[in-house]
Amino acid sequence: MKRHGWIWRVWLGLLLGLALAGTALAAEPIKIGVLGPMAFTQGEGHWNGASMAAEEINAAGGVKVGGVNRPIELVKVDTNEFLSIPDATNAAEMAISRHKVDFLVGGFRTEAVLVMQDIAMDAKKVFIGCGAAHPELCTRVTKDYDRYKYWFRLTPINSTYLGKVDFILLGTVAAIMKQTLGLEKLKVAIIAEKASWADPIVKAAETMLPEKMGMEVVGTWRPSPVAKDCTAELSAIQRAGAHIVFTTFSSSVGLTFAKQWGELKVPAAAVGINVESQKSGFWEATSGKGEYTLTVNTYARVKITDKTIPFYDKYLKLYKEAPNYTSGTYDALYILKEAVEKAGTTDSDKVVAQIEKHDGIGTAGREVFDKSHDITWAPGYVTSIGSQWQDGQMVCVWPINWEGVTYEGAVPYKLPPWVVEHWKK
């Protein structure tokens, strides 16, 4: 009897062990590597967006894969890509071979993302890009589908579309000026930072404005991306008699420009891309002088979809900052969750097939990927927005009645009062 008791206990132990192993198996997390320059705001955006989504998904029970609820575990991967490309490649490699991540999201500097993309493709890992806008990243998918099919770009819209929105905003402001100020032919000054990404936009503007949009280009100015003084350019623009100044800035010069533009009250409405004015600290940084600056943007407190405002508010509450386009990792995680659940596995090929079929509402719009695995930009899909600073608030001013699209909460664009005063007949 004693001997039997011993066997019984062994069986019980084995069963217990198996049960424990089973629970451990059930709880095996899905690992997602968040790639980004973590010491910079772009990387913080990547991490914050992903953390918020992961917490929400885990609180709701995790990702249901084949009847088992698996939590999401995020791996913070500091790519340091602004300072060192080898560092970025090491980081991506570490995430894959050390941390054994199942998926990757993030990335910012195109040169680094190109290499990290190759590393991810070598390992056949799904990589959803949230930061680099260059079309080449998705052209690779079209050129060599079998190799690059694991790559998708979610945010921002690619630079070609970015250019389109840029011109639409310019056209919108021009129409408003013509209507309210009774101007006939508008004069536009082009100002763009001296960086190669801005070159195609400048080139397009120089030809498109006179030929297709019926405006006169009074000159092109190219200050350094880190210029601390733009007064020379601004006085020249004023002397040239420009009604609109078409901006293309991604660096700190955007801040300098906006501040001095407001201080000098240059009678030309500032429209275009100004990444600095997408940040919530812009108002303080320009001491309010950057009011009326209009820029292409991804997020503002506006109802792009039902998810946008709750996302925006929660993000602002948690991180004391408005989300920027690298925070698109939030949507990326939800897309991955849905794809994994539908595929019933984390197998990359099957997940890719599901993401290709994905058609869902995210925080930035209706998210569908095209054949090159780039996010679709069109009315009714992701459109991006135009945001303007009005009385200390960043508000959405576009789209309003654009191809039938108006976002609830969007307010009319306001011309700077000194521009109205100067040009009013």
């Binding site: 973590m38 913070k76 300072l83 090491n90 570490m94 050390r98 195109t110 040169e111 190109l114 190759d118």
Partner: protein, 353 residues
């Protein structure tokens, strides 16, 4: 059989009398053996990648030492040779479909020609003037890279180069082997007559000229040699990462090279190599360690800089010479180095202090 015996006996004799007598030589042998054995211990893609990049940068740092350490031509823009070779290699591989075994050496020739182009105007300059001028060249080239995006790919660089060997282990052995061989060649150059002349130019150029040495020619030679080795590193880098981008020309890379070389110990060739092999994996180790502490990963660069500063504060000559002085003593009479454990010189039997 007899011959093999003789060879083995000779090898053992060399091992006993030349290598095992000095800790520094033993360290080199152990280092080489460890490097060669690494893929047998781990096949971890991350570890091999880190070590491959380390080996590439080791060639770069040693080539800087050849020019700036030995010849005293302070070069603050060493990324120029590296970047030019990376771009030349990429263009040859992508446009003319040259395989890596042709594109890399030709890229290095690009490095040599750059050495000539930079060397000729810079030869008239000395000290800080030379340093500042060399600093300008990669910045000028970076401007050109952005000015002609059709050729250089602009901000994106040139990507999609063919792979070196097709396997990580293959790449590792190829690049590590090349690093050891090129390191050996550079060390041999500094040990040759040419090396002594380069050394003389650094110590007293006027005296070297008075001794009938055409110092201009030798300085130009140093620029070209350094450009060649840095160029090989650039070509390997481009093929390994499959990308030649503007980051290969950035000022930060030029300074990184100096940090590695000064940390390891200048004027030695092996010092900069050791510097890279300590600092580069250390940066990665810091990444792994700091991951466990939330909020700290962003401090990696700061901690790294702090470590380098503290090391140089206590070891101004660099780490390797400092360690070498601790484990070896120079004989006051015959100047031969001895293990620190010896009381009397292994050659002349003089008493060691």
């Amino acid at each position: 059989m007899g011959m093999l015996d003789a060879y083995i006996r000779r090898f053992l004799a060399v091992l006993r009398t030349e290598i095992l007598v000095l800790p520094s030589r033993m360290a080199v042998v152990v280092f080489v053996l460890l490097l060669l054995a690494l893929p047998l211990v781990t096949q971890d893609g991350y570890v091999l990648r880190v070590m491959i990049l380390t080996a590439i940068f080791a060639i770069l740092a040693a080539s800087w030492d050849l020019l700036s350490g030995f010849t005293g031509q302070m070069n603050f823009g060493h990324a120029l040779f590296f970047g030019v070779a990376a771009y030349v290699t990429a263009l040859l591989n992508l446009e003319l479909k040259f395989p890596p075994y042709l594109s890399i050496p030709l890229g290095a020739v690009g490095g040599v020609l750059t050495g000539l182009v930079v060397g000729i105007p810079c030869l008239r300059l000395k000290g800080s003037y030379l340093a500042l001028t060399t600093l300008a060249f990669p910045i000028i080239l970076l401007g050109l890279v952005f000015a002609f995006p059709g050729v250089t790919g602009g901000e994106l660089g040139l990507s999609g180069l063919s792979r070196l060997t097709g396997s990580r282990t293959g790449d590792y052995y190829l690049i590590t082997g090349l690093m050891l061989a090129l390191g050996g060649v550079m060390w041999k150059i500094t040990d040759s007559n040419t090396g002594i002349i380069l050394h003389a130019i650094r110590e007293d150029e006027l005296a070297a000229r008075a001794a009938g040495i055409n110092t201009t020619r030798y300085k130009l030679l140093a620029f070209c040699l350094s450009g060649f080795f840095a160029g090989i590193a650039g070509g390997l880098y481009a093929h390994f990462l499959r990308l030649a981008g503007p980051s290969t020309l950035e000022v930060s890379l030029s300074f990184q090279v100096i940090i590695w070389a000064v940390f390891g110990g200048m004027v030695s060739i092996y010092g900069p190599i050791a510097g890279v092999f300590i600092l580069n994996p250390l940066m990665e180790a810091l990444r792994v360690v700091l991951e466990r502490f939330p909020g700290l990963p962003e401090m990696r660069m700061f901690i790294f800089a702090g470590l380098v500063l503290v090391t140089l504060l206590f070891m101004p000559e660099g780490l390797v010479p400092w360690v070498r002085d601790k484990i070896e003593t120079e004989c006051p009479r015959c100047k031969i180095r001895n293990a620190f454990t010896r009381r009397r010189c292994r050659v002349c039997d003089a008493a060691l202090d």
